[in-house]
């Protein structure tokens, strides 16, 4: 027993020594995302975008004369795991900043840890306003749901001329609940009527009861501000029940899987997003070409934002001229007119990016640009 305990003490010492080793010529950045689980494409896409940015920056000689290294953790699409992942990155790996997450619920789980440890966190695509409200070390590279909900409400009312809209939201998802709140508020202010609100939980596969209920209210459109896995199934079941009006959604729809799962059911549907792949701007097309070359597929908004969030972080480190998290935070806060693929990024006083939003239409199995709105 004495030898055993001595052995364990030795082992612990050795392990802690190696863990404490801080490489002097590498900048360690953490990344956490949902590489597996229910919303796996979110994490996988943003990871691909971030990796592309990483390869580019290292090809240019790194930052501050050092190589940049990103340590990636998978949170399995679960908020509890997001918190654990971030704690590991901060405490065990000693990263100077964290990139993540796409899903607002998971960002909300991890942000308090980053704020407590005073390590800047840049979320690529979390749109719930509460994320940056956690503290002054939390940033995002995208717009917020107050803007997103408003944009879709205006589009529905003004462009689609929908006067009555029904809502089917994900009650367990902060993003969905928040986005719906802002949508309903603007839609009602414009003079529209919310004829029915039903809810489901992330992971459900059966929505016919809720859809039947909404069908009886004869809406002009149905707002489904959820994530792509459920959206695909909801669209199918809605069409099976004879609901033919357009379905509307938010950036949670953005995934190749939406079309795969939804098939014909998602035709004639619209969703708000961060970028359009058929945008003729040379920045966008240039990025798409680079991405296609490396991965062989067209990037979705999460990939673009993964790239942009890494971009603004690297830019901030350069401007800060140091690997000190506090200085990086200050530099991030003064990000102005950063030329991102998803648009010009300027941090406002709440550490949210002021950017334009696009409305995309799904038609004949393809996603096309419909309309753009500026803040």
């Amino acid at each position: 027993m004495k030898t055993l305990s001595r052995f364990f003490c030795l082992l612990t010492l050795i392990l802690s020594a190696t863990a404490c080793q801080k490489s002097e010529n590498v900048l360690l950045i953490g990344e956490y995302g949902s590489l597996t689980g229910g919303t796996a494409t979110f994490g996988q896409s943003s990871h691909k975008g971030t990796q592309l940015a990483l390869d580019e920056i290292n090809a240019q000689g790194g930052l501050l004369g050092k190589k940049v290294k990103i340590i990636t953790e998978d949170d399995q699409s679960r908020p509890e795991e997001a918190k654990t992942a971030v704690l590991k990155l901060i405490k065990q790996n000693g990263v100077i900043s964290v990139l993540g997450e796409v899903a607002s619920s998971r960002s909300l789980a991890a942000a308090p840890e980053c704020q407590k440890a005073k390590i800047p966190m840049v979320s690529p695509a979390s749109t719930n306003p509460k994320v940056t409200e956690v503290g002054d070390y939390i940033f995002r590279a995208c717009f917020v749901d107050t803007f997103q909900g408003e944009a879709m409400a205006k589009f529905a009312f003004n462009t689609l001329h929908a006067k009555k809209v029904a809502v089917l939201k994900d009650i367990k998802n902060d993003y969905s609940v928040g986005l719906d709140e802002f949508f309903e508020k603007t839609f009602k202010d414009l003079g529209g009527e919310i004829v029915g609100v039903e809810s489901y939980s992330e992971g459900d596969i059966e929505f016919r009861a809720q859809l039947t209920s909404l069908r009886s209210k004869t809406p002009d459109a149905v707002y489904v501000p959820g994530y792509y896995t459920e959206v695909g199934l909801i669209a199918r079941q809605a069409r099976e029940l004879g609901i033919t009006v357009p379905l509307l959604g938010g950036d949670g729809w953005d995934s190749a899987k939406t079309l795969e799962i939804g098939g014909k059911a998602v035709n004639d549907c619209y969703f708000t997003n961060h970028y359009a792949s058929d945008d003729p701007s040379p920045t966008v097309q240039g990025f798409i070409a680079k991405f296609k070359k490396k991965y062989g597929e067209t990037p979705d908004a999460m990939a673009v934002l993964g790239y942009d969030s890494a971009g603004i972080l690297f830019d901030a480190i350069k401007r800060a001229g140091s690997g000190d998290p506090a200085k990086i935070r200050d530099a991030l806060a003064t990000t102005k007119d950063f030329p991102g693929v998803s648009g010009n990024i300027t941090m406002d006083e709440n550490r949210n990016a002021k950017k334009r939003i696009v409305v995309l239409k799904i038609e004949n199995g393809a996603v096309t640009f419909s309309e753009a709105m500026n803040p």
């Binding site: 399995q76 809810s199 099976e240 004879g242």
Partner: protein
């Protein structure tokens, strides 16, 4: 009224599924007095087997026209029957003389093995079942839509239940099953091979769960290794509701469960969907523990 009728149709669809799974629970309880907790995961295996088989067929470009679905259904039913018999042989038979609690714990163990083994084998990410039968509204009257797949589920479930009724009531094997449910010792006295009857029970029950798995995969194409937990639990509650050990009870319980769930989601709130099953379980155990169709057996002490 339209809405109510539509909800009724929706409820019957899931009711059929719960009934099919509940039959397996009730039959096994009848012959072994064991709640086979692994049953819900056999349902999941049914869905997975047909998923991989469908993919293999598509990859080999073998088109069987309209026969693809019946073949996959038969394949899953056979695979699940084999799995059920295997579980019985390996996990439950050695514990035949052991206290009931040991077998119960083993059943939970098998369930976990199938779930997490499935995650390792199939991957934890959800898979999407290919659209074998294009779904289209088949009947529409007065605003109520019944689509092809719903019809298929109802038809196949009823067919399987009728076949089961025939087997249990009109064949020698069925008679033997009823005898073993009554008493193991007495059955042995009249020359019934109890082991074989138990194996047959598992074969039949598990094949029904497999069929349910394929039908659900068809209607709700998202499948993953943990998909059997909730339906398994609800079907168990359904079996208890109807009277565990009673086959008509399992049917009644299954349909009641499906309808109740749909109406709770439609008229109260979707958040209570899963909670309903447990509320019903508590209620039935408090008010009528032998179930709606079960017989209250008085034990003389």
């Amino acid at each position: 009224m339209t809405e109510f009728l539509q909800q009724l149709v929706n409820g019957l669809e899931w009711g059929s599924i719960y009934a099919l799974i509940a039959l397996g629970y009730t039959m096994v309880y009848g012959v072994l007095r064991l709640i086979n907790f692994a049953h819900g995961d056999v349902y999941m295996i049914g869905a997975m087997v047909s998923y991989y088989a469908a993919r293999k067929l598509a990859a080999a470009s073998i088109s069987m026209g309209g026969l693809q679905f019946p073949i996959l259904l038969a394949l899953s039913m056979i695979a699940c029957a084999a799995l059920g018999a295997l579980i019985e042989r390996v996990a439950y038979r050695p514990l035949r003389k052991a206290p009931r609690l040991s077998v119960l714990i083993t059943a939970i163990g098998v369930s976990l093995l199938l779930e997490y083994g499935g995650q390792l084998l199939f991957g934890a990410d959800p898979k999407f079942f290919p659209e074998l039968i294009p779904n289209a509204p088949l009947f529409t009257f007065d605003g109520v839509t019944i689509n092809r797949i719903q019809c298929l589920i109802l038809a196949i479930s009823l067919l399987l239940m009728l076949v089961l009724r025939f087997v249990v009531m009109k064949t020698k094997v069925g008679k033997a099953m009823r005898a073993v449910s009554f008493s193991h010792t007495a059955s042995q006295f009249v020359g019934i091979d109890v082991d074989r009857v138990i194996t047959v029970t598992f074969l039949i029950g598990s094949s029904l769960a497999g069929a349910a798995g394929v039908l659900v995969a068809l209607a709700n194409p998202k499948i993953d290794p943990l998909m059997g937990i909730m339906p398994g639990l609800k079907a168990f509650v359904a079996a208890v509701l109807g009277g565990i050990g009673s086959i008509p009870g399992a049917l009644l319980g299954g349909y009641l469960m499906g309808l109740a769930e749909t109406f709770v989601v439609a008229y109260i709130s979707s958040t209570y969907r899963d909670a309903l099953a447990f509320v019903l379980l508590i209620a039935i155990l408090l008010l009528r523990p032998s179930g709606l169709l079960g017989k209250a057996i008085k034990e003389k002490v």
